[in-house]
């Protein structure tokens, strides 16, 4: 019930927001937050609910971005078709690569996904169709300046809401229970009749699908993309940190995490332009040290204040 209220409030506030915000800078900033919220929430499906911490989810973002770019500028397709195809291609790639990679566990899975992302980046840097390192241009949207800002805001919002609704639906179904069972104990789930390979692949593909859609939006918004920025491992790190910061394995945690972290980074970077990324490093370290279970846990925990944070450290140190 509380979740429903949260959902409805979120939708109303978001839809109404642009009507009151005439400042395009703020609208653009809100869009950035939404895109990161999509990335973090999509990561949450595989990393938070299924328990497979992927360190290569940026590969789906990059594939989404490049699919849209190639489909629009080389094949001359429209945005909507390219957008949907981008998500499907990213999901398909997740499924195929997931079959061997999801057999690995822990560190090995993390490194393998990181390796896949780096390998695909290196491939894109060397392919002719992606124009290698020189990058690729996309045709701009045929809209007024204000229209463009509104368009990207709303399309990101729609994708995020769809993602959260899908996740919520899954959690109430057998698929959701089986995903969590795998996270909690894969051997036991397997013996109980859970087709673990299939469930993991579906989960990874869903994560890939929405991440791919975000990549597609990003590419169209930027109008020009290159391999290094869209396959940057920092994007993976940011989505994980946002998901962890908000609360892993909770529906709205990643959204809360992305809003908080983006706002903090934005404030810091406006004061310390040079050291923007430096602060990201500090935020990551502090988040992990003091709230490894996320804001949702801080909020829901009986311990309060400093003792909560100190307890986290006591629990995890040697």
């Amino acid at each position: 019930m509380r979740k429903n209220i949260f959902f409805i409030t979120l939708i109303i506030v978001s839809i109404a927001a642009p009507l009151f915000i005439s400042n395009n800078f703020i609208l653009r900033f809100a869009t950035d937050i939404l895109i990161f919220a999509i990335l973090a929430s999509a990561w949450n499906i595989i990393g938070g609910f299924t328990g497979y911490a992927s360190f290569g989810n940026v590969v789906f973002f990059g594939i989404g971005a490049y699919s849209t770019s190639v489909l629009m500028s080389v094949s001359g397709l429209g945005f909507v078709v390219s957008f949907l195809l981008s998500g499907i291609l990213a999901a398909f790639f997740a499924f195929i690569i997931g079959l061997p990679v999801l057999r690995l566990k822990g560190h090995y899975f993390a490194i393998a996904t990181l390796g896949v992302a780096e390998a695909v980046k290196a491939l894109v840097q060397n392919l002719d169709i992606t124009e290698g390192n020189s990058g690729i241009y996309l045709p701009p949207p045929d809209l007024s300046v204000d229209g463009i800002y509104n368009f990207f805001f709303y399309i990101s919002l729609v994708v995020l809401i769809l993602l959260l609704l899908t996740t919520r639906l899954i959690l109430k179904k057998k698929l959701g229970y089986n995903m969590i069972a795998i996270r909690e104990d894969e051997d036991s789930a397997n013996s109980m009749g859970v087709n673990t390979t299939m469930i993991k692949s579906i989960s990874f593909s869903l994560s890939g699908f929405f991440t791919g859609l975000a990549g597609s939006i990003y590419a169209y918004q930027q109008g020009f993309i290159k391999p290094e920025p869209v396959f940057n491992v920092l994007i993976t790190i940011k989505m994980i940190v946002m998901a962890v910061f908000g609360g892993l394995g909770s529906l709205f945690g990643p959204l809360i995490g992305s809003i908080t972290i983006e706002v903090i980074s934005e404030l810091l970077s406006s004061y310390f332009l040079m050291a923007h990324t430096l602060f990201l490093g500090i935020i990551i370290v502090l988040t992990i040290l003091f709230a490894p279970k996320g804001l949702i846990d801080v909020y829901g925990n009986k311990r309060s204040g400093l003792s909560y944070f100190l307890n986290n450290i006591k629990e995890h140190k040697v």
């Binding site: 229970y177 089986n178 909690e184 104990d185 051997d187 013996s191 009749g193 859970v194």
Partner: protein
């Protein structure tokens, strides 16, 4: 009369099961049958290959040789989840509840999956899970997180999870280890009640008192080979068994 016929029907037949790890033979050419409604005890010293045998049947490890036939169907080479769906459930020696789920959710996952012809909806699975929790006496812990339970309750939860799968066969791997006398009696009672549901049971146990009481037959593994088989009293008095495994410890336990 038909009832008696059924009672002699073989559900699971393993023949010549062998597992080699490198140069070491963990299970050596073991054959046995599990009949319908039977409780079959499996005993043997530590490292005699009991768990390896169960792991092969449940698909967790691949046999080096031999056959596993369940209701006329070859199980060798199937993945664990396929075997689970065909109607064979197992517990793990080191209990594996889903720690971050409630007791009810743990059992519901068993009811949602398990034997495939059941194919329950989520709602039905929770209803079924509720009944099984009642049956196993865990009802007051229904909404507790699994990792907050005591050892005895955890073992019981492990039993509830597999019963929820509606299987034809359950392998219990040391579900009494670490329990006190009183808890062992309760577990013994529980296993008998599970058999009354029409589930056949293979039970690995070190607690001789319990296994002698509930098993219809017992077979003994030693260094991976079967050295004895038969009614509990015969097996436990078999000289080969006593010298190979039980020795003085047995006399203390049985008295």
């Amino acid at each position: 009369m038909t009832n008696k016929m059924d009672n002699n029907k073989t559900l699971l037949r393993c023949s010549g099961l062998t597992k080699k790890f490198g140069g070491l033979t963990a299970v050596d050419n073991v054959s046995f049958e599990l009949k319908k409604d039977e409780i079959l005890g499996l005993i043997g010293p530590n490292g005699s290959g009991k768990t390896t045998l169960v792991n092969m049947i449940s698909g967790n490890i691949k046999p080096t040789g031999g056959d596993i036939v369940f209701k006329g169907r070859q199980l060798r080479g199937l993945k664990p989840y396929r075997i689970g769906r065909l109607g064979i459930a197992r517990t793990y020696q080191i209990v594996k509840p889903f720690p971050g789920m409630t007791v009810l959710e743990n059992v519901a996952v068993g009811a949602m999956n398990g034997k495939s012809e059941k194919n329950r909806s989520v709602k039905d699975a929770f209803t079924a899970a509720e009944e099984i929790i009642e049956f196993t006496g865990l009802i007051k812990y229904k909404n507790y997180m699994a990792d907050s339970l005591s050892i005895a309750s955890r073992k019981r939860l492990e039993m509830a999870k597999v019963v929820a799968m509606d299987p034809d066969i359950i392998f219990f791997d040391e579900v009494m280890a670490g329990l006190n006398h009183n808890e062992i009696d309760k577990a013994t009672e529980m296993i008998q009640k599970i058999r009354e549901k029409g589930i056949s049971i293979l039970i690995i146990e070190h607690v001789m008192r319990a296994i002698r009481l509930i098993s219809d037959r017992i077979f003994v593994l030693h260094h991976g080979s079967k050295i004895s088989q038969g009614p509990p009293d015969d097996v436990l008095n078999d000289k080969k068994v006593i010298s190979a495994y039980l020795g003085k410890r047995y006399k203390q336990l049985v008295k």
